[in-house]
Symmetry: C2
Subunit: 351 residues, 2 copies
């Protein structure tokens, strides 16, 4: 369906009438009706949404679906390279893509803080719409709640996504095999450092821009090429380290990482050294890991590099049978060290 | 699948180790792993969830699905007759039931406030599990975020539900016809007044208990009986008034309500009079409206009354072609007045 473009569109709620979100915008009465009718239906313009029924009814093109959910509490709401709106779409469609599913539908649950600027809400809504269009998904159902000033932080949002799995093949940790190679889809750590720099007011020579992006198209290209992908995982909270740990843990194998091959942007590396952080534990929002047979690694890298943001895609490790540890790093000077999972994350509210 | 009962189960996170939720429980590291592994997987014990993949993969028994989402920010977290956990399940499965769908799967997105008592979290998680079991749904995917103390209110949660639509018949406002009757499934206004009483410390002779409940079974019974249901709507925020307004608005008809037939519990009526409120605008969480042909009204009421909580089910109005107003009330003294939609709700954060 062709939707009206929101490029440059002004906020459909008259800002002289409602400059900010009020408690009544979440109360189920006329103001809430106006917010939904004038802003959300304008932005997401979907026939299912327009029905304003309690649930969206969707006809599926297949019988196996993937379902995932993610809440977003990123602070600040806007950061170099993105905002909570596009992040909220990318986070969920990327999770569907990781399961080998074609993302089709999203739900949108908003928890707004009383006093939130109506203009900021509109900016975020536009960003959601634009990221949804880019990822080929429609927002088909939604919900809005308003909490008192001081009981939230501007906007929290939840998106839940449904995608259709075309192939019968199970992509996941259980399919990982000894001898498989591990590929990253681009340089790591930019999202976390971009958020940290904005929040803490750190200045770098060049602005570090978040990697946040939709992974739907590169994943589709890998699958369409017929590659025998065993597992994929996006590297969000906990970064590369946590993602590898999760796969290694579930598949009961050991992953050996080659430190010098892990792509890290020079500015990000500098920031990490300054702050005493390790880039492999920093969050990303548009990077993923691929595990597949060794002989198909080069082809996967070639495909990834042909997509925007994938220029630095490369092989960073391989899979062994379970040894003494689940993740081992071969350092630049040839030593081996065990990669542990940190107890928390260096930086909360990254997504 | 038979899951282990949580009846009387103690919190699986050792409370001497973690009395409260910390920021690190949302950070993607080891503490978050423990919270998910020890608490959530224990509570929801589902094979899909146990895979801990980015998305749950589900095989559908049909091709048409219903999808709905709801965020819950109710304050206080516990109230007479329920808590945010069971409310979070009922709210979403009820919306699916209203669309004529059989609810099957839920996602669970938690936004926890730093410092939340781990014991309270466990109570809520148990309540979610018990309400899910009662409604025949499984929690198949989830997400947890933690926000700083003072940026939330204990627990906010989002559930998104998927159900399967067995019949090809479209149940919704578009199917409403002139001459249809309007039935309520029980007495109205108890949830809103129960919350208000708890929050404001109001005392009544008898404690007013929320009506919050799963509507899955009564709806299933109505549909299985072969009744030609034209529309259903649960009366949540905005109460009976808003629900009738929404149906009337979308179906372009006029609904005439008969004031003296609307069932309101004596205590609730007393509280409304004391507080200057109208029960038809008070929120419910386990009551719904049914619109169906006049000749089938008695049978529908008979079925509703055979379910717990449905003892007061009765006919409260009928449908005319669109006149001068969308909702008209015939008052007890025989006058007619237009029922308007209030601008907000009398009480925020009811769900």
């Amino acid at each position: 369906m062709k939707r009206v473009s929101l490029e440059g569109a002004v906020c459909p709620i008259p800002l002289d009438r409602y400059t900010v979100v009020t408690m009544a915008h979440g109360g189920g009465g006329r103001l809430m009706n106006d917010l939904i009718g004038e802003m959300f239906l304008t932005a997401f313009d979907d026939p299912e949404l327009r029905e304003r029924h309690d649930a969206a009814l969707i006809d599926l093109p297949g019988r196996r679906i993937a379902m995932t959910t993610d809440s977003f509490v990123v602070s600040p709401l806007f950061f170099p390279g993105g905002d909570i709106g596009c992040l909220g779409v990318y986070g969920t469609v990327n999770d569907l893509a990781m399961a080998g599913a074609r993302p089709l539908w999203l739900s949108l649950g908003l928890i707004l803080e009383e006093g939130l600027s109506m203009k900021i809400l509109w900016e975020v809504v536009r960003s959601i719409r634009s990221a949804a269009d880019e990822s080929g998904v429609a927002v088909v159902t939604g919900d809005t709640k308003v909490v008192e000033n001081g009981k939230g932080d501007g906007i929290y949002l939840n998106t839940t996504g449904i995608g259709v799995v075309d192939s019968g093949k199970r992509i996941g940790p259980a399919s990982v095999r000894e001898g498989d190679v591990l590929i990253v889809s681009g340089d790591i750590g930019r999202h976390g450092i971009a958020i940290m720099a904005t929040r803490e007011g750190l200045e770098f020579e060049t602005k570090i821009v978040s990697d946040c992006a939709s992974l739907v198209n590169p994943v589709r290209a890998l699958l369409d090429d017929g590659l025998d992908i065993h597992c994929m995982r996006d590297m969000t909270r906990g970064g590369l380290g946590a993602a590898v740990h999760e796969i290694a843990g579930t598949s009961a194998s050991t992953f050996v990482l080659d430190e010098k091959s892990i792509p890290v942007n020079e500015q990000v590396q500098g920031a990490c050294e300054m702050l005493g952080l390790d880039a492999i534990h920093i969050a990303n929002e548009g990077r993923f890991l691929i595990v597949l047979p060794a002989g198909q690694g080069d082809r996967a890298i070639e495909i990834l590099r042909s997509h925007p943001g994938g220029e630095e895609a490369c092989m960073v490790g391989h899979v062994l049978p379970r040894g003494c540890a689940s993740v081992v790093m071969k350092t630049e000077i040839g030593m081996e060290r065990i990669v542990d999972l940190p107890s928390g994350e260096q930086l909360p509210r990254i997504c």
